[in-house]
């Protein structure tokens, strides 16, 4: 059945909404990236198995839904019972039958599975009251966790494709562009370029055919916002792309999904098929005569392909070597034709902007960074997960009010934002507002939204070294400053972490960094030295401790630390002996153990398993 009129779409919405709401109770099983990695699929399978056996009066198996990322990953696997919003955390397969008997058969609650805030000792029955959720404002993530994953009926039921219908039937392409310009939407991939301006420039280029591309190559380690959107609400991306294509006159488009996200590839492909079947994509969309074909283009596994010109080369089946930015891709993009490339989250915002108006969007956030932003809050923070807040929220509000503060109440050492191209900001910068420009002025950047919290046991030299290795490995190798410069910068960082460097090496690194920033061809190289530059700005003392004192204050850099057993605290449990790969720990059961320093390779396995008893110290 094809939808050929907006009135038909409105009717479908009503029908699908009734279908969605007809259930007395609905069970939502979070199948977002975090919960999936924690066994959510097994839990879902168990629910299906038990409910098929136990037929419960008034409950249909259709009311069991696998959803995208609900957000509170730390507490996963999550199971939510609607319409009450009962929030079950850390659910195991063996809990499923009890949940069914207690909350589906009866309308009661399994107390022990509810969330308790460790900081306040308060237990919450529903998720909407939990500060983690209460303080968020979800626009791009609006449907994720609420509707069945990758289900066009539920997407339409909650108002999906209304924005597209409005654009295609009630607005001219230029009016669509104006609306997006008014909204102030800036590229959510981190570049922050005004989307409206990009679309307007492309629309004016006198060349055909035109293309729209979605950058789903979320390469920043620590970021999974785009993954959650592509898996959990792929139709929001498609709808945004259709609106963009209509605005700039494109009839073909690609959704570039990175190789490491196989489920996203499947779900986007499924969504394309679902939308095409209903006539909401493909030929003669909604009976308006507008055509758009969307294809999935799979990345081959290269961080550099997150850079737009490299991505376009990859779409064309070539190596992902970027090209200088003097040739703009709106003019000569993929296949050398005018191309609009935007990030997943950017497209996810577009339908809402058209529906509610650009002016509405601009009331959120700050004047220069309008709207909201999704973040993956991870690292040494209590409440790790996927969040969305208005631009302008401070780091402190995100990490403490929503994030619940640092694990074990330890002091915060730094927060790393912006992925490898970003930087580390110390505790005294926590009141900075998170937006496109403020963090950049402070020496970091908001980037695509990865936010990694670090405590005293994170060594900034190690973090800089880690990022430099990553960037050097991912460099395409085309230009000298990036390929050779980052290699040498990394080699010097290694020397520092091994206690072999001098203060002159720090000067050398700063000078080299400056030249890499100016001399590199693309963004990867240009922002490559940032991990070093931002940490040396705020944590110079830590670098000097490695260089002058040959010590690693955080107890991380292997050449500069020793692991020792505190004989008084050790209870002789032998856990460390079992964990030691070098077999260099001796001791009988019940007696204090001893680490042979000569054979010890400082891998830290013993420290990791002993943590409970605290008997192994690192110095």
């Amino acid at each position: 059945m094809r939808v050929e009129k907006t009135s038909q779409l409105a009717k479908l919405q009503k029908t699908f909404l009734e279908k969605m709401n007809k259930h007395d109770r609905t069970v939502l099983i979070c199948c977002g990236p975090g919960c999936l990695a924690n066994g959510a699929q097994k839990i879902s399978d168990e629910f299906h198995k038990v409910l098929k056996k136990k037929k419960i009066k008034g409950f249909s198996i259709e009311a069991l839904k696998e959803t995208g990322c609900h957000g509170f990953c730390e507490q996963g696997p999550l199971v939510i019972i609607e319409p009450d919003g009962i929030f079950y955390t850390r659910v195991k397969v063996k809990d499923v039958e009890e949940i069914i008997d207690t909350s589906i058969k009866k309308k009661e609650v399994v107390e022990r599975l509810l969330y308790t805030d460790q900081a306040t000792d308060k237990t919450y029955e529903t998720y909407s009251e939990i500060p983690f959720y209460k303080l968020q404002h979800r626009v791009a993530l609006r449907n994720i966790g609420k509707i069945r994953q990758c289900d066009i009926e539920e997407y339409i039921a909650v108002g999906g494709y209304q924005g597209m219908a409005k654009a295609l039937t009630k607005m001219k392409p230029m009016e669509v562009i104006d609306e997006v310009t008014t909204s102030g939407l800036r590229g959510r991939g981190g570049g922050g370029f005004p989307a409206g301006r990009k679309w307007a420039t492309c629309a004016k280029i006198d060349d055909e055919p035109r293309y729209v591309i979605c950058n789903g190559d979320e390469g920043d380690p620590g970021a999974f916002m785009d993954r959650a959107i592509m898996e959990g609400d792929p139709h929001s991306v498609l709808e945004g792309m259709i609106i963009a294509a209509y605005a700039v006159g494109a009839q073909d488009g690609y959704i570039y999904v990175r190789e490491e996200y196989p489920l996203a590839v499947v779900n986007i492909q499924k969504a394309i098929e679902q939308a095409t079947e209903l006539g909401l994509l493909g030929e003669n969309i909604l009976g308006t005569g507008f055509n758009l074909n969307l294809h999935v283009s799979r990345g081959g596994g290269a961080f550099v392909c997150g850079e737009s010109s490299a991505l376009m080369r990859s779409v064309a089946g070539e190596v992902g070597e970027p090209r200088a930015k003097y040739i703009r891709s709106v003019q000569k993009g993929v296949f050398d034709k005018p191309t609009v490339l935007n990030n997943v989250e950017s497209y996810a915002n577009v339908p809402v902007i058209i529906e509610k108006g650009g002016k509405w969007f601009a009331t959120l956030g700050t004047p220069k960074s309008t709207g909201t932003k999704a973040f993956s809050l991870v690292g040494k923070v209590r409440n790790t997960g996927l969040i969305e807040v208005p631009m302008g929220t401070t780091l402190r509000q995100i990490i403490y009010d929503i994030g619940g503060g640092v694990i074990d109440n330890k002091p915060l050492k730094a927060v790393q934002t912006g992925g490898p191209s970003g930087g580390c900001l110390p505790e005294d910068k926590l009141d900075l507002s998170v937006d496109f420009d403020t963090l950049t002025k402070a020496g970091s950047m908001m980037g695509s939204g990865g936010m990694i919290v670090m405590d005293e046991r994170t060594c900034v030299v190690d973090v800089a070294k880690y990022f430099l290795k990553f960037l050097n490995d991912e460099s395409c190798g085309k230009c000298v400053p990036c390929r050779e410069g980052l290699y040498q910068l990394h080699a010097l960082a290694v020397a520092i972490s091994e206690g072999r460097a001098t203060e002159e090496d720090l000067d050398k690194m700063e000078k080299l960094s400056d030249n890499i920033v100016i001399g590199s061809l693309c963004g990867l190289g240009k922002s490559g030295p940032n991990p070093f530059l931002s940490t040396i700005q705020y944590f110079r003392d830590e670098y000097l401790a490695h260089i002058k004192d040959k010590k690693c204050p955080a107890g991380v850099c292997r050449e500069l630390i020793t692991y020792k057993v505190d004989a008084e605290k050790c209870d002789g449990c032998m856990a460390c002996i079992a964990a030691c790969a070098q077999k260099c720990i001796t001791g009988k059961k019940g007696e204090p153990h001893v680490i042979n320093q000569e054979r010890c390779d400082k891998c830290g396995a013993c420290y990791a398993v002993c943590n409970k008893r605290d008997a192994i110290e690192v110095a």
Partner: protein
Amino acid sequence: MNHDFSKLPEIFERYPDTPASLIAVLQDIQKEYHFLPCHALEETARHLDVPLSKVFSVSTFYNAFSLNPKGEKVIRICIGTTCHIRGAMQIQQQLENLLEIKAGETTEDLKFTLEVVACVGACAMAPVVAVNEDFHGGITVANAKRLVKTKKKTKKGKA
């Protein structure tokens, strides 16, 4: 090593016959054979009308491709930032010692390949280790052992 290349035409059928299909074709070949055999590269070059040198260039540029056979179980340790600060390096060391190979290598019996991957996007459950397409979160030095043992047991059991 003898491979059954009769699957190739079916793979080629899935995509348009243009150079732009190169990466997708190579990924399907990688999935089918666990690596990219030389003959498959030559056939791909012929079929898509792309110079062999370009096919080889693309095969060696991207992380997804391997010119050497991979194991039945590909264990990918995530070394993304979050996993890194939560101890991915210790886990890598553990698994390297257990399987007696280094990351990037395959066991002689072709049962396991050990790899590191930059980030799989499950950061909230760091550290994460993927075995083929199954992701396992909250891995520690203690339970990492179990992961490999379980998989090894499965193989023995099946035999």
